[in-house]
């Protein structure tokens, strides 16, 4: 598969389907796995990495669910291509910035992606639209079981799966849910909710992952603890927490509509107008406007636009995507111009 083909595909997790898709954009489960007999990537030689990469690639070829998947060797891609894979949430910044000996598998519809030789030998990720952790777990669990028949994973009965960083030891599982919480932000309740979440040993991050700020009212909530609970217990805990946050967000939305519907309508329609007409736009501004448009769709205030269209824009307006669409390098100003054009093209029906 060529990198350019991603531009014409929509990842499953962006489709805006799945349970509670109005508030939960996507669910993701990640498992870390290491080979029992090879040093972890950080202490591997180039030759070790190459051996691991070849062995894992071969084993992945035998998994029915991954039929038709694309496989990339990071050092065969240029910097923009690698950045594009990061922007699609298929791999980490770390995987892109230090490409030697690293690989990536991407399944059809981008449901499964597997980083090879990142911090751990394998980082398997399954991502689905809506609140869908249990289904994600079923998929990832099957892949992991099949793989463990071919690869001897580092595992101890007492401590579970052994990972490079002890914060992942045990299940080596991280479940995370991307939530859109504009009404909790507007009613100034969000900090209370986030504080409660962190007290329960869950972490919250921004849309673009670790170390990014929460922009456009998007919050990614995930478990911190990976040892001492079964995978299904952890998933149940996250689901329980997420359902409470969904309920709070829904109540806040109702309150906003009841108290001041005209104000909310005005705000949403102005944002919609800006997106359809702007000629220069930063990603920060675009994301904030997308957030309002999403709220407009959810509340029935906007009817001519779908979740899918807005979700796709979140991905398309990032630097590497814009440069791939334009097929050349763009500076910050050129990107802002191209971004506005991409948005208009998507949201305004052509007259011709």
């Amino acid at each position: 598969m060529k990198i350019e083909e991603f531009l014409t595909h929509t990842s499953e997790w962006l489709k805006g389907t799945g349970p509670s898709a109005n508030i939960v954009m996507s669910s993701r489960i990640r498992l870390a796995r290491n080979l029992a007999k090879a040093p972890f990537p950080s202490r591997s030689t180039k030759k070790d990495l190459e051996t691991t990469l070849t062995q894992v690639e071969k084993a992945l070829g035998h998994i029915p669910f991954l039929k038709g998947a694309a496989f990339f060797r990071m050092n065969e891609l240029d910097q923009v291509d690698r950045q594009l894979l990061v922007e699609r949430h298929l791999m980490s910044h770390e995987h892109a910035s230090n490409p030697d000996g690293k690989g990536l598998l991407v399944s059809v519809e981008e449901i499964v992606s597997i980083m090879i030789n990142e911090e751990d030998h394998l980082r398997i990720q399954v991502m689905l639209s809506g609140l869908n952790l249990t289904k994600s777990w079923d998929i990832i669990n099957t892949i992991d079981d099949t793989l463990s028949k071919e690869i001897d994973f580092a595992f101890l009965e007492d401590w579970g799966y052994l990972t490079s960083c002890p914060t992942n030891t045990g299940t080596a599982m991280r479940g995370s849910v991307m939530m859109h919480l504009p009404a909790l932000v507007m009613t100034k309740q969000i900090n209370k909710v986030l504080a409660a979440i962190s007290k329960l040993s869950f972490a919250s991050r921004g849309f673009y992952g670790e170390g990014t700020q929460a922009s456009g009212n998007f919050y990614q909530i995930s478990n911190q603890v990976s040892l001492g609970h079964s995978e299904l217990d952890i998933i149940q805990n996250i689901n329980g927490l997420i359902r409470q946050v969904i309920e709070q967000e829904e109540q806040a939305r109702q309150a906003l509509l009841l108290q001041n519907r005209p104000m909310l309508e005005d705000k949403i329609c102005r944002c919609w107008g800006l997106l359809k007409t702007a000629r220069i736009i930063s990603s920060q501004e675009a994301i904030e406007l997308f957030s309002m448009v999403r709220l407009g769709i959810d509340t029935g205030i906007l009817k001519d636009v779908s979740h899918k269209a807005v979700n796709e824009l979140f991905i398309m307006i990032q630097p590497a995507h814009l440069q791939k669409i334009e097929a050349k390098k763009l500076n910050a100003f050129e990107r802002d111009t191209k971004r506005a054009a991409v948005i208009r093209q998507k949201l305004v029906p052509r007259l011709d």
Binding site: N34, P39, G160, Y161, G228
Partner: protein
């Protein structure tokens, strides 16, 4: 919008920090953002956290500890404390004494209750299900009373173990 730090270049990176429920925003140019992120890593690096945690753990052989090495990959325990990353699966065995305390501090437990690899399952059939049934007090009511006691005493680890036993019994 100009960069909050240098005040010269255009701000393209926007950072929100939440500290004690107080939100603050910073708008930075790419260059200043890079410097800031290095600073933040230095301030809040996982390695520091781990180092802090393992210092807090009781250190029995203070003098020998520096020389502790992994038999598999040769990683120094001192380097693990500095960088927070283990070198191979064997490190877990070589440093087991220290890691037992560290894992408990991070996760609140140091006993794996999740799945096992295929080969491992084949060797040890139904390990979790039987261990609860073999215990002397497998009376469901007794266990439930103990669970309430443990919750009241805020001994959550004991409570979790009891809860799992109760579940195993109820499901058997």
């Amino acid at each position: 919008m100009q960069c909050d730090i240098c005040g010269k270049k255009k701000a393209t990176v926007h950072l929100t920090e939440i500290v004690d429920e107080q939100m603050s925003e910073m708008h930075l140019c790419e260059e200043c953002a890079r410097q800031k992120s290095v600073q933040m890593e230095q301030q809040f690096g996982l390695a520091d956290l781990l180092a802090g945690l393992s210092q807090a753990a009781p250190t029995t052989k203070e003098t020998k500890e520096g020389a502790l090495k992994c038999a598999g990959c040769g990683l120094n325990y001192e380097d693990f404390r500095k960088f927070g990353r283990l070198g191979c699966s064997q490190c877990y065995v070589s440093f087991s004494e220290h890691l037992a305390g560290l894992l408990r501090k991070i996760h609140g437990s140091n006993r794996h209750l999740g799945k096992a690899p295929y080969a491992f399952k084949a060797q040890v059939p139904a390990a979790v299900g039987t261990s609860a049934a073999l215990l002397p007090s497998d009376n469901l009511e007794d266990l439930k009373k103990q669970l309430h006691g443990a919750i009241a005493a805020e001994d959550f680890e004991k409570a979790a173990t009891l809860r799992d036993k109760i579940r195993a019994l109820e499901n058997s």
